[in-house]
């Protein structure tokens, strides 16, 4: 499938902002199963400086600064992406999770070594005894790693309520465990916490989910949203994406922007500004399928 993605973030301020410095992570990755064909970044007002660089995880980051007084800042990322179905391992034939853990810890294989940076605590992912207990229900002794991870994804989907407005970006996983509710970000962090406490490598994935309009209705512009899921590392295969919010293995309907240890490494726009007073932010995302030939 080929998609056009438009991701617009608008900040409105009650007082003028005289200077702002920002980092945008909106440019989709090219990876197995996904090719980025085009990307452009439109910023209003026009920034004094804009520069791309690649972060430690391979994500393209755009730094920009707006240095003239403004009441509104609008940042739009536009991309054209090809998404293919990737072959997946037969979950029951993947190696036992304890073997995977051992391989990651020993670091003998080069590919494992790169993945092993996603085994440790990070700002949003801290060790939690209840996460370990919760994970062990799926990760029974010698169970194949992907089979167990898929089971864990299913349980999170079934046992936690999707509940927007109850959490913020910084909701600690401990709290999500108590209330049993959250949003996609929380479920991704929760499953990553579970996997890492077992010694497995798990990374946070930021991207978009293509939504289907109700039958007979046209798709609404801007109805889509940023989405988040995670990936678990399986030696010999690489990263297997898992979406606990929807209990699916992301394939054609998920467009990946990038990844990191947690949300903090790949948040779409981060900024620091001077002035501004009260502020309001709105986000609009469209992911539109296009015919391959018509692009």
């Amino acid at each position: 499938m080929r998609y056009r993605v438009r991701h617009t973030t608008t900040y409105a301020y009650s007082d003028p902002v005289v200077l702002c410095q920002n980092q945008a992570r909106l440019s989709p990755q090219t990876m197995p199963g996904q090719t980025r064909l085009e990307f452009s970044l439109e910023i209003n007002p026009v920034p004094a400086i804009r520069r791309p660089w690649t972060d430690a995880f391979g994500n393209e980051v755009w730094y920009f600064s707006v240095e003239s007084p403004h009441h509104q800042l609008e940042v739009t990322g536009r991309s054209l992406v090809d998404r293919h179905v990737q072959p997946l391992p037969n979950p029951s034939e993947t190696p036992p999770w304890e073997t995977v853990r051992g391989g990651l810890a020993s670091g003998r294989e080069l590919a494992d070594r790169f993945a092993s940076q996603f085994r440790f605590e990070s700002p949003f992912i801290v060790e939690l005894p209840e996460a370990r207990q919760y994970a062990l229900v799926s990760f029974t002794p010698n169970r194949p790693v992907v089979e167990a991870a898929i089971d864990l994804t299913r349980r999170i989907f079934e046992e936690f309520d999707y509940s927007p407005a109850t959490t913020s970006v910084s909701t600690p996983t401990r709290e999500v465990f108590q209330t049993r509710r959250g949003v996609c970000q929380d479920f991704a962090h929760l499953q990553i916490t579970c996997l890492r406490t077992l010694g497995l490598a798990a990374r946070y994935v930021s991207g978009y989910l293509v939504t289907e309009p109700p039958p007979g209705k046209p798709k609404l512009i801007g109805a889509d949203a940023s989405h988040a899921w995670l990936a678990v590392y399986c030696p010999g295969w690489g990263w297997i994406d898992l979406d606990p919010t929807n209990n699916v293995i992301p394939q054609e309907k998920h467009v990946t922007v990038g990844w990191g240890r947690d949300y903090g490494d790949i948040c779409p726009i981060a900024g620091v500004f001077t002035g501004g007073g009260r502020q309001a932010m709105t986000v609009a995302v469209d992911v539109t399928p296009v015919a391959s030939g018509a692009a």
Partner: protein, 502 residues
């Protein structure tokens, strides 16, 4: 007079009951005879009139108070500013020994710099199986934001303070490396100044290497790492502000170098460069000697809640348009578990054997080594891997059984974060206690500047544990300091000096 000055006479009333056994004393041999390097000083102290030393000490204390030489202690509510105790009896190093120490420090700092650069690039030392990967992946001091950075001239650790200690047999060991924002150098300069003012006669007849040109050397190094500019590069000292424990030093160094002392709010990134707000508008800044921790440098790249830093600073740095000293990310080599691998690093990067030895270190992350530590905890010093300033250290022989148990639990719950070392019997230097002298334990922190050349401040900061028997010398934990002398041109014999006086 000359006849009276035989060494036997030196251990006289001033050093009555002065204990020299059981530890290496920097001034005396175990039998009470002064070491050659300290003969003249011991004789001078001996020939002072009664009460003279205490009087000079009071004068020195008063001078320090007048000069406003202070530091802050975190966790103490009343009066954050304190005068750092200074003891008038100096610590002396011979020139031969100092040259060996210098050579060892040069070797060490070169290897550490190559290690940091390797960590943020190809990690060859890991691929070659010399350094374990989990050590870096699990280190809080390994900053993802610094991967791929290329600091100017390939130098990461521009300013290092390396702590040395001397054990009972006289061997000098490296205890730890401070590669983030090492402090204390201002005390070295001020101690010498106070010493000269209040006790000038002790310098008579001795050739001591000067320390006064440190600010000049520091400025030279900072200018060397500047990005290309048309004019002389603009250097600033960036401080977190008056509540920082080393604020005095930040002011002192800025003033001595003749550069601006700024806070984060004085700097602004605009048009792709860092600027300083001045009464004449914005002025471009080329080099920042920053005394702010990495995590607070730039809220856009590191902690978003930092109000101390400069938003966008790291982007300018990445583009090579400003230099930072030290480079962000050096903390990876400052980790006390990583320390254990320094001998291996020296061999790997330089093909040399370590010349200034490390203290043997047990890594609690290793199953066997951890077992040893848990069984022998009452004999060992246990340190958290990522702390500095003496916080969180447990000295086994001086701790209670409850503390031993508490540390066993801490280690088991987070083995990666703890290392243990044997309890070294730190050497002692006579120190004024009331009206007499007693031995107190000391360490030594030389300061190393890595620019076009490697410059090492002669001597460095001698910190002294003022509490009897204590081995913790940190200023935040009841330590004081002493002037440190590195003798030039060999050791003057007392007989020569006295002969020259006629």
């Amino acid at each position: 007079m000359t006849d009276n000055a035989s060494p036997a006479d030196l251990a006289d009333t001033r050093f009555t009951d002065y204990a020299t056994d059981g530890f290496y004393d920097e001034m005396f041999f175990a039998d009470g005879q002064p070491r050659p390097r300290a003969e003249l000083l011991a004789w001078r102290l001996k020939t002072l009139s009664p009460g003279e030393l205490a009087k000079r000490q009071r004068a020195a204390d008063q001078a320090l108070l007048n000069m406003g030489i202070t530091f802050n202690v975190y966790g103490h509510e009343a009066g954050t500013e304190k005068i750092w105790p200074f003891d008038l009896v100096p610590r002396i190093l011979e020139s031969d020994e100092w040259q060996r120490i210098e050579a060892g420090l040069r070797q060490r700092i070169k290897a550490l710099n190559l290690f940091i650069d390797d960590m943020y690039h190809d990690q060859k030392i890991i691929r070659d199986g010399v350094f374990p990967e989990y050590m870096v992946k699990s280190s809080k001091n390994f900053l993802k934001q610094c991967v791929g950075l290329n600091p100017p001239k390939g130098i990461w650790c521009h300013i290092t303070g390396t702590d040395l200690v001397r054990d009972t047999d006289g061997t000098v060991y490296v205890l730890e490396d401070n590669l983030r924002c090492p402090s204390g150098v201002s005390y070295v300069l001020e101690n010498r100044e106070v010493m000269k003012r209040t006790f000038p006669q002790v310098f008579d007849g001795l050739s001591i290497l000067p320390v006064e040109d440190y600010p000049e050397q520091l400025l030279k190094m900072l200018q060397y790492i500047a990005p290309p500019t048309e004019d002389e590069p603009t250097v600033v000292v960036l401080t977190p502000g008056i509540f920082n424990s080393a604020y005095f030093e930040h002011c002192f160094l800025a003033q001595q170098m003749g550069v601006e002392l700024v806070q984060g709010s004085d700097l602004v990134v605009s048009n792709g460069f860092v600027h300083m707000r001045t009464t004449r508008g914005l002025q471009r800044v080329d080099v920042i000697y920053r005394r702010i921790d990495d995590e607070f440098l730039d809220p856009l790249t590191f902690r978003p809640d930092s109000a101390l830093g400069v938003p966008g600073l790291m982007d300018v740095y990445r583009a090579g348009r400003v230099a930072l000293a030290n480079a962000p990310g050096t903390g990876i080599a400052d980790d006390k578990a990583v320390y254990a691998y320094v001998p291996a690093m020296i061999k790997y990067y330089l093909g040399e054997e370590i010349s200034l030895p490390n203290v043997p270190t047990w890594l609690c992350a290793d199953d066997e080594q951890r077992e040893y530590v848990l069984k022998n905890i009452e004999k060992l010093v246990v340190k958290p891997a990522n702390e500095s300033g003496g916080y969180g250290i447990m000295v086994g022989p001086r701790a209670t059984p409850e503390q031993h148990q508490q540390y066993r639990e801490l280690i088991v719950s987070n083995p990666r974060n703890y290392v243990a070392q044997p309890t070294l019997a730190l050497s002692r230097v006579p120190t004024l206690v009331g009206d007499h002298l007693e031995g107190r334990h000391v360490d030594l922190r030389p300061y190393i500047l890595y620019g076009e050349d490697i410059y090492i401040l002669p001597g460095g900061l001698t910190r002294v544990a003022l509490v009897k028997g204590s081995l913790v010398v940190n200023s935040s934990q009841g330590g004081g300091s002493k002037d440190t002398w590195v003798l030039k041109n060999g050791t003057p014999r007392i007989s020569d000096f006295l002969a020259s006086q006629g």
